[in-house]
Amino acid sequence: MTKIANPDIISTAKQELIDRIKQAIDIQGVRRILEFQHNMEIGENIEVSGGDVMVYNNQLVYRMDFEVLFSLSVLFDNEGNYIPSEDTPDENIEELGREAEDIIQKM
């Protein structure tokens, strides 16, 4: 194959383009899009981790990758036993279950 351009320069130029695009990104706008897409709250801890140029639906597009830092927590007691969070009392769920089962059995 006949080489007609310097690949190092192409690669460098491509990386420079990605780096320039990184700087131009509205990170808060991206945060809102990702929060909508994934139905979760991302907060301020988001940063660009990489990117590439690619073809999508017959047009040249830019794919940017992001890393998001989550703060999650769990509860446990002095014995080290995990304590599940209670958002709905178990007895309320159980009451619904019994009622549903009763209806089905009598149907």
């Binding site: 178990d90 209806i103 089905i104």
Partner: protein
């Protein structure tokens, strides 16, 4: 002759339309002649079957009010094995709900009897309300599939729906059967989701389908594109789960595995 499946829940936002459209798509993809009927005046299922862009000449409600025969409202959908009866999105729902004398509860089932021989399965996407449209849909259904979101209020709504079905069995539709309860929008990050699944399986046992539909970006995206997930992201978790549902539905109907008989 077709088996008619009513996708029902009196609560909105539990995945009825997503289930109706994707179940119909996978039933047809398995080689079954399938008809999807949008009984919800909001027209959400209609928007997902490609019909609105072709400006349907007729709507389900033209047939229900006697202007045309039901078979004349059938329009081709995405594949040769899948047809649909749309509704016009600009339909004035209140007008119909306020005019109960306009309908008889068996108009839909009478119309379906004329076209049932042409299909293996008919799937009805029903409105999230009690009215003459939903009563028609219930009366026309051979069995009912109930999608239930894995959340507390949706579980409470299931109990209300079961009471309503029990009432209908005792009055207007004694032959009503349950095909199954489908758990939808499962989110593994939400502890309540797991609790609901565990409890509902303990109490309703085999009535609950094995497959659980996950909360999935692919299902949301396919809705926004107006196509079944089968044609958008066939390898996604949402797509795989709806394919499994279609397999379970086919198996249950083939073996007459119904509940509430």
């Amino acid at each position: 002759m077709a088996h008619t499946i009513g996708i029902v829940n009196l609560k909105g936002g539990v995945g009825k339309t997503t289930t109706a459209v994707n179940l119909a798509a996978y039933l047809s993809d398995a080689g079954n002649r399938t008809l999807l009927i949008d009984c919800d005046p909001q027209g959400s299922a209609t928007a997902m079957i490609g019909v609105p862009k072709r400006k349907p000449a007729w709507s389900l409600f033209d047939a229900l009010d006697g202007r045309i025969r039901l078979k004349d409202a059938v329009a081709p959908a995405w594949t040769p094995m899948l047809d649909a009866i749309p509704v016009r999105p600009d339909f004035n729902r209140t007008e119909f709900e306020d005019a109960p004398e306009f309908f008889q509860k068996h108009i839909l089932s009478d119309g379906l009897n004329e076209i049932k021989d042409g299909y293996d399965y008919i799937v009805l996407d029903t409105p999230p309300s009690v009215g003459y449209i939903s009563i028609n849909a219930l009366a026309a259904s051979d069995s009912l599939l109930i999608p239930v979101q894995c959340e507390y209020l949706a579980y409470a709504s299931l109990v209300r729906l079961l009471k309503y079905i029990r009432h209908m069995k005792g009055t207007a539709h004694p032959g009503m059967k349950l095909l199954g309860v489908l758990l939808t929008m499962h989110d593994g990050l939400q502890p309540i989701s797991g609790k609901i699944i565990k409890n509902i399986r303990e109490h309703l046992k085999d009535l609950v389908f094995d497959v659980i539909i996950p909360r999935s970006i692919d299902l949301c995206e396919s809705s926004s594109y107006g196509i079944p997930v089968l044609f958008k992201s066939p390898d996604s978790p949402g797509a795989v789960s709806y394919k499994r549902l279609a397999d379970e539905v086919i198996g249950r109907i083939a073996t007459s595995r119904f509940y509430g008989i």
